[in-house]
Subunit: 345 residues, 3 copies
């Protein structure tokens, strides 16, 4: 490829805080191999995952000790600033013995990494996600490695008209009814807002299982997209109780977090959480919701991976937007603009 | 590669009629992804296997309903002419919303597809195969995906001197005896005829198991090749009863059908049937013959796949024809001429 | 790649004598597919593994009979000089019907093959290895296929400072102590000598298990490298008994043989033996040592394969030598000089 297809100057989620303990964690982001580890005080850092000596990935068996990460091969050690602090068998450590570091911010139980130009990394651009840390919420997390490019995952989440086809066994409703969804989208800088209202519909399996709905419901999905992350507010009340007009009392209210982190041009790490503030002490409910969430993921993967195979076979060929792609189209335009600004394609 | 190595303007078997039921069937032919499905009346059609919207392969979870095939992702529907007939969430369907169609003929329990220029597709060029449909015959079918180019499968079937080496446990005889085979081949337009007579030989395992031969036999193989399909008449009688002179009464008479359908440059879908008109009510015999047929296939695959690995390592390097390649040489010349006529290599 | 990365004009081990029985043995060396077989008198030969007829690898099911190797596909036969001696179904064998041969020397229970210019193959360049054949020694052998280039295996064996990190459960000692190793290396023509002494150290697991050491030991490793092969003399005595000064009586004395045979640019066949001349009748000890040797290999593989992945991602990027690389640096220079002399890179 002539131009990069990665948007490097962006914050991406490398994992959840809980994914990074005493062992280092290797993650490829935008084609760059990165190792995350914690120093003695628990502070997380991100370095290039390649020892200066023989190119060994530090994440493959490396150990953290004394605030350093140690190469599993010959024991070279590095601190969180990437400086080599020990070379076994020699006293002098050359000044150029250092690894590239990547800006890392740990916030809201998420590990955010910036694979691009460090001088441009502004933590203020990271979106807040209070539902992972505020009292009164319970959440579970999941991670899926998908053999499809990140754009396909963005598309998937921004055009929810796929629910009634792909997710019929989990969160999808009746196709004919769902096709009547009230859809709206607007672009706001480099963010996209999408709202989707489904009024007077049959409750899908998830809603029946989680909230005991057994009749008609009014249902909404509100999405905020920016490259790398989508925050969802989705919920439902009994049909005709005025949710669309603003009365969203009772019923089901869920916050989803979706981080879409490009790995290679055709693979993505997908991090997901699901938070609720009702029945927070009900561990069985948490477990049930988690399992349905993971099942829903797998339904998406069964679509995304064959889709990528088809697209990879004819890389230059156009796709056709339809009416439900209003959010998708905004997002693709934003990414195209940002890529062009970075000098990518 | 500069020039195509596929012969597009040709009828290929995409499957047996019985392979295509209510679910769509995806098949790559000459590098083209094609989906087969049946409309409400059972009529089969072949479309490009790529939804106009997001490039999703329709065959991966698509459904047939109301005569249409529906994309599994967002529910777009297409008719047998490739026209998009429904886009959920919008009323207007653009005129250009259509998929490429491929000529398809269903005949003799076979689904024939033409991946090339539709204007040149003449159903009269399809070879008849009555043994699948005429009364008095019983047959079984099989399908093997082989990681080797189609030319290697053609070679395999046209030079049967491999039987005594590859198929010693199934249909091969004694190497020294088999080397005395009376071999003849002639080209007839774009067809090749090969006949091979083995007189006064020990019966191979298949012949012993299927027909109870336990002594010496006279054996024949008559092949008609044209690109994409080989029709075999093979049989045997007790040695010295005059088969070679024209008296083929009694003994074993079998019709094989071999369809060689290029998938990629180095992979092939191989469809095979075996028909007989003796002991047609003997289901155990059908089963026994079927199992030996499949075992024979696997013996070929064990040859063809390593052969392809060797050839792929040195693509331009010549092979050497030997005497037993008379049929092979005709077939390779026909394919080369047809490829040149199409502008391929 | 513009230039070859293989050093063709070199003797490589294709296997142990015991690996080659009545069945032919296929081995790719420096990217060349080679088949080894024995004639009727047991003499081993190496031919190109590709039948002239249809390119079939002879090693994939070929048979040896009457001193010939027979193609598994159509039965063509070749003698140890590569001449085709039989083409079933025809009397005349063209003079050009022959396979390329490779110089092969069987010596010291090893099969040495020269993949380069046969005119330059001098058996006198093959290093002797008496421990495989002399009385008084017992040895076991192993073979590992590693998805990493041969240079990485050379590096691994020439910089033993990895032992205390990679092999902590087998042959590695305490990292802090081992870092005090006395290291020396010198180049001698196209050979490299490395010696490494570890004085007054805790005995590693292997030494405890094999020789009953349970306290402090003096330990040495003496290596002779030339491209394709490393011969090791390693041993240990109780600490302070004068080994370093020349008194190596008693204790543990082991000879290792390591053959590093390039397969492709990023894969290697690694042949290994371990010989001892103490307790030679103790079969349990032989078995125990063999198992620890194989476990040690697997520890190396867990390093080498991810290392290769990292290096392949950025092929042109430099590595950084450290003090412990003195032997490694000599070896890389020798290989670079020999490659340049051959016209490779």
């Amino acid at each position: 490829m002539q131009k990069s297809e990665f948007l490097y100057n962006n914050w991406y989620v490398a994992g959840f805080s809980g994914d990074l303990g005493k062992e280092p964690l290797g993650r490829k982001i935008c084609g760059k191999s990165i190792v995350l580890f914690r120093d003695g005080a628990g502070k997380a850092a991100a370095l290039e995952d390649r020892c200066i000596h023989r190119g060994m990935p530090l994440s493959r068996g490396g150990e953290c000790a004394g605030g350093m990460i140690r190469c599993p091969y010959h024991g070279l050690e590095y601190n969180v600033a990437g400086l080599c602090t020990k070379i076994p068998g020699q006293d002098r450590i050359p000044a150029e013995a250092r690894l590239k570091t990547y800006p890392l911010v740990e916030r809201d139980a998420l590990l955010w990494v910036w694979p691009g130009d460090a001088a441009k990394a502004d933590p203020a651009q990271i979106v807040p996600y209070p539902y992972h840390v505020e009292a009164g919420w319970v959440w579970s997390r999941s991670h899926l490695h998908v053999a499809a490019g990140w754009q396909l995952l963005n598309d998937n989440l921004l055009d929810l008209s796929h629910l009634q086809y792909v997710h019929r066994k989990t969160i999808g409703g009746n196709p004919e009814e769902d096709a009547r969804a009230k859809l709206a989208s607007k672009r706001d800088g480099n963010r996209v807002h999408v709202s989707r209202w489904l009024l007077d519909m049959d409750a899908p399996p998830f809603h029946r299982a989680v909230c005991g709905f057994n009749g008609r419901i009014d249902r909404w999905q509100e999405i905020e997209f920016q490259p790398g992350v989508l925050r969802f507010y989705s919920g439902a009340t009994e049909a005709g109780t005025g949710a669309y007009e603003g009365r969203r009392e009772g019923g089901m209210h869920i916050r989803h977090f979706h981080a879409i982190t490009p790995e290679t041009a055709t693979s993505t790490n997908y991090f997901f959480s699901l938070a609720r503030n009702f029945n927070v002490g009900d561990a069985d409910l948490t477990d049930k919701m988690h399992k349905m969430m993971v099942a829903t993921f797998e339904e998406d993967r069964a679509i995304l991976e064959p889709q990528q195979v088809n697209l990879s076979a004819e890389p230059g060929r156009d796709l056709t937007n339809i009416m439900t792609d209003i959010g998708t189209a905004h997002a693709r335009r934003i990414i195209a603009e940002l890529l062009a600004a970075e000098g990518g394609r």
